[in-house]
Subunit: 207 residues, 4 copies
DNA sequence: AATGAATGAGGCTTCATTCAT
DNA sequence: AATGAATGAAGCCTCATTCAT
């Protein structure tokens, strides 16, 4: 019996299960120490089972990344599309990211860790890992630069460099709190998000 | 002939040399693949020389962190102390950090990588690594929260939560561009810094 | 419907198909790397199909050997039987072997590779693999020693030790060119065979 | 304390010891099953010791090949150089090879096995393994084609194709008996060699 | 102060084989 | 007749660390 991708139902289930376990393990002990053996132990199967379902550790990492991106897109993009104004979208972008980060802490941590640690055999960084192309479409909709551009075109936002400001927002909305949360799990993400909404409203609104 | 810490000059020189080599290697191939042997090769000595000077890899990592922090403090704190106003200090904080990041890219990359990857044998994160206590003093002076607090007390800055805003600024000034620079070495840090100065001026100034 | 050995036609066909695929794969990547999975992929079936038809890898190897020997016997023995004189048989032995080697290069390569590489779990060499007894009869007819003996009895050949000379001829006719052909696929087997015919004629003829 | 090649005496001794053990193990159980672990066990050290002295299994294989070739050259070439006539050299070539094969059975077997079994990661055969260039000189002197050419030029030998006849001689002198000896360790190599001397004398001499 | 040698633990991966369907 | 899933054993290799010199 086969589902899509030419994969059995069992196969799909196992892959998901392993991917989730991998995320948990990486979040807990870090990518560097998250061996295939430990991931298998978390699932409760032999190590070779993991390699039966994922041809290599690289392929598992890729699955994790795709899984995480897909969930983020599924959680955040619909929220964004409820908003009409750029200001509303920016506000939602910040709040939805914070909410997602709070509810998917381990996933975020795992992806960030992979992002810093993972290198191919050649030593290249992770963006060489091919992201599932169909994700790319949704991915673009997650891009805050698009929101900023819309806001400038509509006259809602004041004058600033879109790309650079987008980097700044990503830094404040994503990269900063990730670190914070890793070091201090008590960090109040929702309060932080509200502060950010106000901050970037002051920083972007016209007049 | 002995310098401080009961270390001879030679000893101190070798330690610095090894620390630098380690930083370069980590920045180049990532912490995960930066073995003691490769670091030793970069210096041009036998692997055991590294372990002669650093009792364990943990101790070397600690030295790297202290080295990096010390250089950052030495580079940025004096700049900050030239400024009187909180707005001036915030501006300088942003610009000096950007300049330091540009001139110490490998160091930054190495520290970030360690920050995400490094765990003690127990699985604890890197902040469990004891930071040289004498650094702590200077370290506090690097804290942007202090600047923000001063600005609110002096009435230069508008009303916002100091700690949260500090996290946001660190995210935009440090965490964000680090990622950006690692993935795209051409990223224009100076232009980015100028944009940030304007952005956070709009976001923090009273009125 | 059953053919001999209590095997259905389908069964026999699959076995032949798998045996052939195995030969090709072994010739291509070597016995050491020719895993059951790769052989199954060549056939286009699941790995377990191979083990459904051959109880173990040992059994598959045995089938390969028998298959190869049978083909060699079928190709060469009839040629030999057309000849009456020992000299004619020797000549034919050399030419037919060369022709067979040229047209069954992969098979030869596979069998040679197995001959050197294959050991049972106990470490024993391949001749411990039971050769299909019915092959033995034909096999004897392939033996050059028989030809030499006939030639000495008939007075065609001069005086030499039969067994030793047979080993020499096999070395020059089979073992040598196999190596040569593996390392240099352009090697002109037919020209070589003609040279051998002349050489062993000079070496064996009376007077 | 260092000997040539920038290697310690201990290092050189260990390398030799490991190379010898590897040859024995390969001859005994075949290259395919001769794992680094088993070789280490034969020496009586930990597996990682082997990899401390040889960066990879490839490097060990290369050392084995070079070792075997060097010994063959050292044993046979001086014998050849004592002879003046081509016929004498051919006779010596055959006898010296047989003697060497008898006294270095395991080495021969190991090299042959590697020759058939060894593939690089790309699947290429062993001649891609770089042979120590300084060996090449002596190696050429081992080539029977050179002897045949000399014999034709001097008029000792009759007319035949040099390259093809050389292949035939190698087949009868080396490849054939190797197989024979592997399958039947009692095979009388010296008797065989004498037969070969006579055989190839008949086959090559003028008139 | 430096270093060569050795080692055990662990990492990823391949493989033949078993079993339920 | 075929196959997907699972698995343990083994393979090569990297690494931090210890020790004698």
């Amino acid at each position: 019996m086969r589902s899509n991708d030419g994969r059995t139902f069992t196969e799909t289930a196992r892959r998901t299960q392993i991917t989730q376990a991998a995320i948990d393990v990486i979040a807990e002990i870090g990518y560097a120490k998250a061996s295939i053996r430990k991931i298998a132990e978390r699932v409760g199967v032999a190590m070779s089972v993991v390699l039966y379902h994922f041809a290599s550790k690289d392929e598992l990492v890729q699955a994790i990344i795709n899984h995480a991106y897909r969930e983020a897109i599924d959680a955040i993009v619909p929220e964004l599309e409820l908003e009409r104004t750029a200001a509303g979208k920016l506000r939602t972008y910040i709040l939805a990211n914070a909410f997602f980060l709070r509810t998917h802490r381990t996933q975020y941590a795992a992806v960030m860790d992979i992002g810093m640690s993972y290198r191919t055999a050649d030593g290249d960084l992770v963006n060489s890992l091919s992201i599932d192309p169909e994700l790319m479409a949704g991915f673009t909709k997650l891009d805050v630069a698009t929101i900023l551009r819309q806001g400038q075109e509509s006259g809602e936002f004041c004058d600033f460099d879109v790309e650079r400001t987008a980097t700044a927002i990503r830094g404040a909305v994503i990269n900063g709190p990730i670190m914070e949360v890793m070091l201090n799990p008590e960090f109040d993400l929702d309060g932080y998000a509200e502060e950010l909404v106000a901050l970037f409203d002051r920083a972007t609104r016209r007049g």
